[in-house]
Assembly symmetry: C2
Homo-oligomer: 146 residues x 2
């Protein structure tokens, strides 16, 4: 009996239609991870996971990513307190992307204090407009002045 929840990649058909978790990590050992609100469906953030981050997320139910800039595991909310409780972990058809459906404690997933990192929409002339509502916290108070 294998004690590991991450199974090796097999055939294209098994990966796309089968019922075994067979994630594909890229040449850097990472898999893209979309995080969305479990209730509203709203996309909150995007980050990467390595194999350990994916294992930890599934086992603990706390969203854990891999920080490429800091080169280490990143338990979301460790510093800010804005933890993400994972309600569901999904994979896409070819199992090379993960989707987390979460409840966001504190309401803000973005380090800039907004609910979602996607707080700006692009116009056709290359300008952006703010569509992300009010700040839910002041980043300087939470992370210190930069």
């Amino acid at each position: 009996m294998s004690s590991d929840l991450i199974n090796p990649r097999t055939s294209h058909e098994e990966i796309e239609t089968g019922l075994k978790l067979q994630p594909k990590f890229d040449r850097d050992g990472l898999i893209p991870c979309i995080t969305a609100d479990a209730d509203s469906g709203e996309v909150l953030m995007f980050a990467f996971m390595n194999e350990e981050a994916l294992r930890l997320t599934i086992r603990t139910g706390k969203a854990t990513y891999y920080s490429r800039s800091r080169r280490k595991l990143w338990l979301k909310g460790e510093e800010s307190g804005n933890r993400l409780t994972v309600m569901e972990v999904r994979v896409d058809c070819d199992q090379d992307v993960v989707l987390l459906l979460v409840n966001a404690e504190g309401g803000a997933a973005c380090h800039n204090g907004f609910r979602s990192c996607f707080y700006r929409a692009a116009n056709s002339d290359g300008t952006l407009e703010h569509v992300g509502g009010e700040r839910l916290f002041n980043p300087e108070e939470v992370y210190g002045k930069k």
Copy 2:
């Protein structure tokens, strides 16, 4: 006057809080792109864009990606007819991810015939369960038998 909607990267602050589109493409010239349903918020698919795909998507309002396997632009739905009409293009805080909010003609964004590519959820033992509803089309009829 610049006629280009894609502006060069400037300072961290300008990128995170400014109102100019300054997307970051990775070492392969690509930017991750999440596509979600404009009405329900549901995440439908994940793909990559190059600069031309992003420009075309903004200018035409039709979701256009870059296919890494075929190494060319990919107008979504060209083959299957399941086009994605773009209602809004968003960027994340550091402008290295794009989010498209779309209306999906035909209802199915996944090449396997499901509404979303994320039709399976992972259990804690490494098994998956189907959570993606019924198939909206038969892939063999649309793309031919593999």
